[in-house]
């Protein structure tokens, strides 16, 4: 498994506790967006299109910690924008680590090597480096040449200093399965702890609208990628979620599983859709009309298979029944058995 045993234990304990308490809707990962300012303009990103004065706004460390305390999720993912642009990010991370949250700091790695000195290696801190494919594909996806090389160099530097490093990969319409499989080989050869993969979401605001995957194509692509997979590949994701991407399982979305907090507040209903904001986590959970969202219930959700909504569904299955648990064990030990 890509995830350390201590983290697995913590997440298991957390989920089982929610089950014992009969909590129907619980957060698994807090998506904490402290800013939307970025040093790239990737064509597939719908997160950064705002006026300058909005891009200049940032969450304070106290707001970040407060959100983590309110939400209670054991894992905090910090996307953006580019989190390393935030001048108080080391403080934010330290406060979250002090709270024993497992922090995944998502970054395009352009600033990573320079900023490593500001962070301490910890089992609670992982740099999740955005890598969308081999050099040609990645530089094309981020709309700038040379970024892949910078990211690889930064990954080497972070690993050498003892940091946990994973990659996160978003796949679009033009993904070549043979090259993506080679990309997986390269990432594991770099020595990263694990990889996270997801189909891209068709943000309405992203410039490139033509390249987003539709559900059937998503399943076909991920089936090609993950069938007869190399045993050296490690994915830090639920194996049942990977089977979902391959079309082997069906899930309904769990939008409350990865609640989002940013400069506007708690985002309704999820990380990808922006249907309004509330001031507290409790309002988010109690006042969002959850039945209005999900595939078949909202046209904006029609083609979505992104991890932020469906990985919590897979985790719920793992802990929701013996068949789910045994299926997870089987998928972990024998990923090529299906």
């Amino acid at each position: 498994m890509a995830v350390p045993v201590s983290q697995m234990y913590r997440v298991c304990k957390y989920v089982i506790t929610q089950k014992i308490k009969n909590v129907k809707r619980y957060p698994l990962v807090l998506m904490l967006e402290p800013l939307f300012r970025c040093n790239l303009e990737c064509a597939g990103c719908g997160k950064i299109q705002y006026p300058d004065h909005v891009l200049d706004r940032r969450l304070t460390p106290e707001q970040c910690w407060g959100a983590a305390d309110e939400c209670g999720a054991p894992i905090v993912s910090i996307p953006g924008g580019e989190p390393l642009v935030h001048p108080e990010m080391p403080q934010i991370v330290k406060g979250l680590v002090d709270r024993r949250k497992y922090v995944y700091l998502c970054t395009n790695a352009i600033l990573l090597e320079r900023k490593l000195i500001e962070y301490e290696p910890s089992p609670y801190l992982t740099f999740s480096v955005h890598m969308d494919g081999l050099q040609e594909e990645h530089d094309h996806a981020v709309c700038r040449k040379g970024v892949y090389e910078i990211a690889v160099k930064a990954i080497h530097a972070a690993l050498k200093k003892g940091f946990r490093v994973t990659t996160n990969t978003t796949l679009f319409d033009d993904a070549n399965p043979t090259r993506v499989r080679r990309f997986f080989d390269e990432m594991m050869e770099l020595g990263v702890e694990g990889m996270m993969i997801s189909p891209g979401y068709s943000y309405e605001k992203a410039p490139d609208q033509a390249s987003f995957l539709k559900r059937n194509r998503t399943r076909a692509l991920f089936s090609q990628l993950l069938t007869n997979r190399n045993r050296a590949w490690r994915f830090n994701q639920s194996p049942l979620f990977l089977e979902f991407l391959m079309g082997k399982r069906e899930y309904e979305c769990t939008p409350w599983g990865n609640p989002t907090y940013n400069i506007f507040g708690w985002q309704k209903p999820c990380y990808l859709l922006q249907d309004g904001y509330v001031s507290t986590f409790q309002e988010l959970m109690e006042e969002t009309d959850w039945k209005n969202y999900g595939t078949g219930r909202n046209k904006k959700c029609a083609d979505c298979m992104v991890h932020c909504g469906y990985e919590p569904s897979a985790v719920e299955e793992t802990f929701g029944s013996w068949s789910g648990f045994l299926g997870t064990v089987r998928a972990t030990i024998f990923p090529n058995a299906i």
Partner: protein, 118 residues
């Protein structure tokens, strides 16, 4: 001076950018639609109030379901949030640049093809 775009059944939003458009809603439905478009717009808007005041900012939230529906704006250069009740609104002007429109993928591809052919 602009005029209000006609409401279509289940109309989500206009297909072209509405940058520069001025909307003068005359019914509650038109007002709701105008504010919905302002919420969806990724640029600053200028809200003309019935008092004559003009407020320019980014509409980041709206709630039509409150007893007194209102929208929230970030104002340039100010840290606080401005809350404006729907009933105070006379007109909406999409005055700021639409940051989500016109960034063509095709343009980027052309640029990268041009630089690699040098």
């Amino acid at each position: 001076m602009g005029s209000f775009m006609p409401l279509e059944e289940s109309s989500p939003k206009p297909e072209k950018s509405i940058e520069g458009q001025k909307l003068l809603p005359t019914t509650p439905e038109q007002l709701n639609q105008a504010i919905e478009w302002a919420f969806d717009y990724r640029g600053d808007v200028t809200v003309e109030l019935i008092t004559g005041e003009k407020v320019e900012g980014y509409v980041f939230d709206r709630n039509v379901h409150l007893p007194h529906p209102c929208m929230k704006l970030f104002l340039r250069g100010q840290s606080h949030i401005r809350i404006i009740a729907y009933k105070e609104v006379r007109a909406m002007i999409f005055s700021g640049e639409d940051t989500a429109f016109g960034k063509s993928w095709d343009e980027w591809v052309k640029k990268s093809q041009k630089s690699s052919s040098r």
